[in-house]
């Protein structure tokens, strides 16, 4: 009989990613409802100290696979170890972050285990007949409720949506060491090179604040205005498809249906008219600000605050004001 909740603990540069603590929060809640324990699978090389952090955030059992062979994420090796851990733990529910790694790993794992997966969920709950997962489709134009047959029920969860688990000083998890044995079939791919973007890392999915520019930016040289406001707010830079397709900024910044779907606390759209596909990608943001010179722009219909005006004047003024407030 499947029992308990298992979360995939994702480590990056010696720290747990925030989404892992978000999974721990939801995992602990649902495990308590079932009267069962919360376990975490912690994979990597030199990640053992993070087991303590997981314990402090509500995890009861940590399956620790700490091995040099797991230094880099590779699909085959991680899928193998996660399969072994999942079979050993036998969970009813398995959650991963909808990160680059989670989105690569979870579908393969589900296929291997022959079970169902709901991707990129924004809410998870237990109904009378098991897990109910809420997930946006059509980049957020529609929301679906998904039910499962069989177990484990697997879900990847969008970062930045669920509240992280609170830290409980002194709480500890039982650590179960997992022996990592990899066959040739688990070592087919390798990370040959890691390419860090010059300048600041764009991690739109986890950003609390996003400042985006669109067609109204008029050219690549003007994105400095957007970056200036983003920096003052401690946020990330986004862009509309129009700006990306014009070659003004890289696709990794694109918000919308063929870019990223985001739900930050604050989304500031500058010179973005608000096409259906863009709105789909950002309309779940908690607070939306629009700056556009066209009072009829569709973006104003979804905005909490709007300014009809020239972004080349408004945005720098806003940047100065934010700096003043933050310093004051």
């Amino acid at each position: 009989m499947a029992q308990g909740v298992l979360i995939y603990a994702e480590a990056r540069e010696g720290r747990l990613r925030r989404v892992t603590l978000e999974l721990a929060g939801k995992g602990a809640e649902l495990a308590a409802k079932r009267g069962e324990p919360l376990a975490a699978a912690l994979l990597g090389s030199g990640v053992e100290p993070l087991a303590k952090v997981l314990g402090e955030h509500g995890v009861d059992v940590v399956y620790l696979a700490d091995d040099p062979a797991l230094k880099d994420y590779t699909t085959d090796a991680y899928a193998r170890v996660m399969t072994d851990i999942t079979r050993a733990a036998g969970p009813a529910l398995l959650f991963l972050g909808a990160t680059a790694i989670g989105r690569d790993l979870a579908p393969r794992l589900a296929a291997r285990l022959g079970c169902g997966l709901a991707s990129d969920c924004v809410a998870l709950d237990l109904g009378a007949d098991g897990l109910r997962a809420t997930r946006p489709v059509f980049a957020g134009k529609v929301v679906t409720e998904v039910g499962f047959k069989g177990s484990p029920c697997v879900a990847t969860v969008r970062p930045n949506v669920l509240p992280p688990a609170a830290r409980q000083e002194g709480r500890a998890a039982e650590v179960r060491r997992v022996t990592v044995t990899l066959d040739a079939a688990d070592r087919r791919t390798a990370v040959a090179e890691v390419i860090k973007a010059a300048g600041e890392v764009v991690d739109l999915a986890e950003a609390d604040i996003i400042v985006s520019g669109g067609r109204g930016m008029k050219g690549p040289e003007n994105f400095g205005i957007i970056a200036g406001l983003a920096k003052a707010l401690g946020g990330a830079v986004g862009a509309s498809r129009a700006a990306v397709d014009a070659g003004w900024i890289e696709h990794s910044h694109q918000v919308g249906q063929t870019g990223k779907t985001v739900s930050p606390t604050l989304y500031i759209a500058c010179g973005i008219s608000g096409s259906v596909q863009h709105l789909a990608g950002m309309s779940s943001s908690k607070c939306i600000v629009a700056v556009n010179k066209d009072p009829e722009a569709a973006i104003f219909k979804v905005a909490d605050y709007g300014i009809v005006g020239d972004l080349f004047q408004v945005v720098p003024a806003l940047t100065a004001e934010v700096k003043r407030l933050r310093e004051g």
Binding site: F138, A139, V146, T258, K286, V314, A317
Partner: protein, 263 residues
């Protein structure tokens, strides 16, 4: 090199989506269906590889009658063969069930490389590529923005997007690669291509033809079910901040701090 590309027919990204009265699907009337945008990158990449090293490109699509349109477009772009998995028994399935049907089809088609879009822009599940790789026992590289096939045709290097950085992954072939925007700039179908595609016969396969029981695929074979669908709505303040730019900016910053409490 024998390349297989999986394609899906999806509503255009500018389409407004409404939920059907049963709350389990969308209203398809009045919607323009197009080739899933990420699949276009997959098709284009396959064609470029074929143009460089020779071989064939076969497109495989799963879906109702209208899925033929996507396959037809792929043929018009220059793909050689099209296979349509079309059967009532395959309908209503989730991503894992779709991968099962596609895997069964691919077992009958020689493939040195399998290309898929990184996700379909309708259900956004991003599962079919990796699940297909698993079911075929192949390695995978997902969300790829650059693909270099080695001269030997035995291995490849793929640049994939991570969260905030990129990595280059080396993989033996055959492998499943899922395409991200940025991989290439897809071509438009040529007029002769369109004419040729119209005359081209497509292979149609049913669940039975794939050697699958109806219970393994479609709605019956899916481990997940859509229980309900709705269009989200969120009340917005819709507050227009007036004034000259410096005043408006100052008022806005104040509202964001004291009213919305977000900065």
């Amino acid at each position: 090199m024998n390349i297989v590309v999986c394609v899906k027919n999806v509503p255009d990204t500018e389409a407004r989506i409404t939920v059907a009265p049963d709350g389990k699907g969308i209203v398809e009337e009045g919607i323009t269906f197009v080739v899933n945008p990420y699949d276009e990158y997959a098709i284009e990449e396959a064609l470029r590889i074929k143009e460089r090293v020779g071989g064939t490109v076969t497109v495989v699509g799963l879906g109702p009658e209208r899925a033929k349109d996507a396959l037809r477009t792929a043929l018009a772009m220059g793909c050689d063969e099209a296979v349509h998995l079309c059967d009532e028994a395959l309908a209503g399935g989730d991503a894992q069930a779709a991968a099962r049907a596609l895997a069964a089809a691919l077992k009958g088609i020689p493939h040195d490389l399998v290309l898929c879009g990184k996700q379909a822009v309708d259900d956004d599940s991003a599962q079919v590529g990796p699940a297909l790789a698993e079911l075929l026992g192949l390695p995978q590289v997902t969300v790829v923005t650059k693909l270099d096939i080695d001269e030997s045709g035995k291995c490849a290097r793929a640049r994939r997007e991570m969260d905030g950085f990129a990595e280059v992954v080396s993989t033996p072939l055959p492998a499943v690669i899922t395409a991200q925007k940025g991989l290439n700039e897809p071509r438009f179908p040529s007029l002769p291509g369109i004419m040729k595609a119209k005359r081209k016969e497509m292979k149609v396969l049913t669940a039975a033809g794939l050697g699958l029981d109806a219970g393994q695929v479609g709605a019956a074979g899916s481990p997940t079910t859509v229980l309900a669908m709705s269009v989200p709505s969120r009340a917005r303040r819709k507050c227009m901040v007036e004034g000259e730019p410096p005043d408006a900016a100052s008022k806005l910053a104040g509202l964001l701090r004291t009213e919305a409490k977000v900065i």
